[in-house]
């Protein structure tokens, strides 16, 4: 019986250990994910600015990357209680004070990014619309939910 319980519990334990490892450092995880999205935006911005020619395939690939990252944002796992401070986090206390508002902002970003990808922009003008739709979320969320510390 004991063995049976141990056998049944093993996968649960493995999942628990694995998810703990994946989120061993939520501050580092969320910062890495934010930086990764910055990179994707950085590859798109020169096209929106007109410094690089429009390339539908490259745009789609970068939007796809951005969307993958966006959907990975998990407010509960990446901003758990206890990570309000620590490391060099610039998270605002408002994330925890108004968690519903924060989750809503994240969900809006996810929806806008998915829609931008689904629109598959085929020319510069439609790309600019999609790019604007996604990036308006950056400032809006950082306005309410981030503070500068250095």
């Amino acid at each position: 019986m004991k063995r049976l319980i141990a056998f049944a519990a093993a996968p649960l334990l493995a999942i628990a250990v694995f998810s703990a490892a994946a989120n061993a450092d939520p501050i580092a995880d969320r910062q890495a994910l934010m930086k990764d999205q910055g990179k994707a935006v950085g590859s798109l911005a020169p096209i929106a600015k007109g410094e690089k020619p429009f390339d539908a395939a490259a745009v789609l690939a970068a939007l796809n990357k951005l969307n993958e990252d966006a959907q990975k944002i998990d407010p509960a796992a990446m901003f758990p209680a206890g990570t309000e401070t620590g490391g060099d986090t610039t998270a605002s206390p408002k994330i925890w004070e108004d968690n519903a508002g924060f989750v809503a902002a994240v969900n809006k970003y996810k929806a806008d990014t998915a829609a931008a990808l689904a629109s598959k922009p085929q020319d510069l003008d439609s790309f600019k619309v999609a790019f604007g739709q996604v990036t308006q979320n950056c400032g809006a969320c950082h306005q309410a939910f981030r503070i500068k510390k250095n």
Binding site: M34, G38, K39, V41, G42, A45, K49, D88, T90, S92, P93, T135, C138, G139, A140, C141, H142, Q143, F145, R146, I147, K148, K149, N150
Partner: protein, 307 residues
Amino acid sequence: MLRKLLLLIVLGMIAGGAGFWFLSVPVRIDPAKLAAARPGDLKRGESVFWAGGCASCHAAPGATGDARLVLAGGHELVTPFGTFVTPNISPSDQGIGKWAFEDFANAMQAGVSPDGRHFYPAFPYTSYARMQVQDIADLYAYLKTLPPSDNVAGPHKLGFPFNIRRGIGLWKRLYLSPEPVLAIADASDAIKRGQYLVEGPGHCGECHTPRNAIGGLDKTRWLAGAKAPEGKGVVPNITGGEGGIDNWSAKDISYALESGFTPDFDSLGGSMTDVVQNMAHLDPADREAIAAYLKAIPAHPNGFPKP
């Protein structure tokens, strides 16, 4: 002897009170200076409106798009001096609907209300004092065309001694001046234009420059960054000094003002988000001028302590 001493003390108090009264009196702008202004131009007034960032504090909190043109006030600025509540400045009876141009100019450049009281310098007239009178006239004309609001914003919530308005008169003697902050040798036209926008209407120094205990700007560390005037955190150093933006090109700066993106595609947050929304409306040459000025100013290390 005792009676003489008492008399001396009373006389001293009267003299001190009279001195305070005299030195703290609200001082208006010379009417002759205002009379030189031509009737306002709406198109130019709109660009002054965006450069001046009026909507950041006077639009309803969280307003976006056209709602930012309804200057109903009611935004609370929670500072170490107390909580300031921004007033309604829409063209209505509750706002500035009845203000003459002279009233508006005195508010903007002398910090004096139509009924002759000091405004608190949370309203950045210390910067607006450096603006050209014609820009004030253009802005006045433009504000009169915006949608009216009948909102009545609540009173400020301030503790002693900051609740004594008359004390601002003494503060103004120390910190209110229409003179430029910096003297930049051989400045190009772009740098001069940038200096005007940053030091005047843009009022960048009000948040990006550290303040002393009584709220005066430390101009020896101009734009070196400061503790945030509201809440936690800091306002970044925008000089070329350590911790600042020396590795940003002029193009990076003007693009950040237009899009909100830093050179590594982080995005500007906090109250700068609103500033970017305003700056995005400017003529591109004006954003480039601001960048040229920021590349030309003295470098300082961060004006705030390490976290």
